[in-house]
Subunit: 356 residues, 2 copies
């Protein structure tokens, strides 16, 4: 049986309810449990399984061992008309960052542009979740976060900055917003782990060994490379300054990974914001011109083997539509972990667990 | 005699005065002539000769043939506390964009963050010139512009978006601000021209031919590739939306190149902005932490053949210091073009022109 045949499809609503039940049993309020679960399942819907319910287990572990505060008192200060300061109180990153992006959109609708800095936070999931929230309210959304060190600056060989993702969304009249959510490294760390598990080698431009030479065996990886050399290095540095230095959290080497120590807060910083196009021009005209751009991009001659040029975020939107219909495919490893959580808290899992 | 031996070093102050004299003779006011000349010579000082005084001749041609308005009435409206709308009135891009970034910094010091959209503009030189202006006033500066179409979207083979540069600067206590000014393509178009002139082939990941296959001969180049595939594509699209759609100018395929038709305005859009860190935390502490980051980056083990890891913009700052001391090296081609302008307007050129 192939790996994909072992996948079980789970209805996304049932999965979100299950996730909420787990978090409530772990000590989160009903509201916070729902916010985090929506964010995780949203990543699964878009096909970004690395940031979906696979994170339930380490999140719960961090709550239980004390790294994550299960009852955070999130505070928000409007330091200036377009500057919001949010303290996540060591809670789950999603709880504070949803509040941060919503407040940034409110402020942007008032001033034209606004940004929120989030401090004392933890893993926030995907940047796209927040930028799409802004786009749904007709703003251009922006989000970034620092993470633990794993990318070598251009010219160096030691990991220093994180894969430091940055994302944006642009409102459209389509069923999806144009959305980019990119690591500033050539590839995310997860791709190295996958290659290692599969026993495969990696392309020589992804990472370097401890002497700075190309690493082609996953186990030789000492540091990831920034995308486009000095370009990705510069973008990753900007993400760290906006996420870590503006918030006072420190830069990537000062940040703990989700998996480092479950008893310690990660001390991550995020930076999210919104631009309101309606102060520049009529919103309807703006969105019509975006739609016109989309049509023109789709009319470009595709490369051999490509049906049609896609917009950033379009493939993820197609996956979301398909998975809303057919359910979210979960592999045996994830199913087993979720089943353990179900047993532990004595709650029912949405699908029958296959016996090993 | 090697190419570099044929270079003549010209004092940067004298070069800037010469450039101003040329623009005044071409019809610009003393103030506008000075603004544009400072921006061009600043690019030469930083070693970005492709955006320096080599642009004098095409700028003058556009003024004379009517594409550039020599006496623009630049207007600025504060549409919202953090949104500024600037109309360049078809003048030189530098004139309106200097006003735009200065006003954005003023507004950011009031609201925490502000952006200016520039419409009806032309070539604005380097993004770094504007972002560094913001950093000198202790703001994080951001600048982007669309340009004529030459990059194929990821998955496509026809040029559509421009090389759409984006830049930022971060204030420091050093003699330079951290500055990134990057094309969202693998390389700028200029590198293809240089290879063509030198009769050299180009690496196969820079560009593609009209069938979408890697182009290694400069004359086969049909479209440039975005840096990092879907990442550079997504970033270039964002630059076009912020520069072209917010301003109402249209996207890259609607924009004329500087060299297309000297009698027509290019109809370029720009987007520049500023973030004031002092609303996030004490400015002194912010800058100290940036300096600390700089020191930590420089302490990273360098790759073989690299002395020390550099910060974005550091090499350009070193070049600036050297060229302020020793003059700006200009090749025979540029010298000849500038000498022609000197003869035409009967003004003296700062150095003796070698006889051909």
């Amino acid at each position: 049986m192939s790996k994909s045949e072992q996948h079980i499809h789970v209805d996304h609503v049932a999965l979100e309810e299950f996730s909420s039940e787990v978090f409530r049993n772990a000590g989160l309020s009903k509201e916070h449990a729902s916010i985090v679960s929506q964010a995780l399942v949203s990543a699964n819907l878009r096909g970004v399984d690395s940031h979906g319910v696979v994170r339930l287990e380490p999140y719960v572990k961090s709550i239980e061992e004390g790294g994550f505060n299960s009852t955070p008192d999130v505070s928000l200060t409007r330091a200036a008309p377009s500057t919001l300061l949010v303290d996540a109180d060591d809670g789950l990153g999603q709880v504070a960052t949803v509040e941060a992006i919503d407040a940034a959109v409110d402020a942007a609708k008032d001033t034209g542009a606004a940004f929120a800095s989030v401090r004392n936070s933890n893993h926030f999931g995907t940047a796209a979740y927040y930028t799409q929230r802004a786009a749904e309210r007709n703003c251009i959304g922006i989000a970034m976060t620092n993470v633990g060190p794993n990318v070598a600056p251009f010219g160096g060989i030691d990991p220093f900055f994180g894969t430091n993702p940055l994302g944006y969304s642009i409102p459209t009249n389509q069923s999806y917003s144009i959305t980019l959510d990119m690591a500033t490294s050539v590839v995310a760390k997860g791709k190295i782990h996958v290659a290692e598990e599969e026993g495969e080698s990696i392309p020589d431009h992804w990472a370097m060994d401890q002497d700075g030479n190309p690493a082609t065996a996953p186990e030789d990886v000492h540091a990831l490379r920034p995308v486009g050399g000095p370009k990705g290095y510069g973008l990753g540095l900007l993400v760290d300054v906006c996420s870590g230095v503006l918030s006072g959290m420190g830069i990537s080497p000062d940040v703990d990974s989700l998996y480092d120590d479950y008893s310690k807060p990660q001390q991550v910083g995020h930076w999210v914001g919104a631009i309101d196009p309606s102060y520049y021009r009529d919103l309807g005209e703006f969105k019509e011109e975006i739609d016109d751009m989309i049509n023109r991009v789709k009319a470009i001659s595709p490369k051999e083997g490509v049906d049609q040029v896609k917009l950033p975020g379009e493939i993820e939107a197609e996956t979301r539509n398909r998975r809303k219909e057919n359910g979210i495919p979960l592999g045996p490893g994830v199913i087993a972990t979720l089943a353990d959580l179900a047993n532990r808290y004595e709650i029912s899992f949405p699908v029958e667990i296959p016996q090993k």
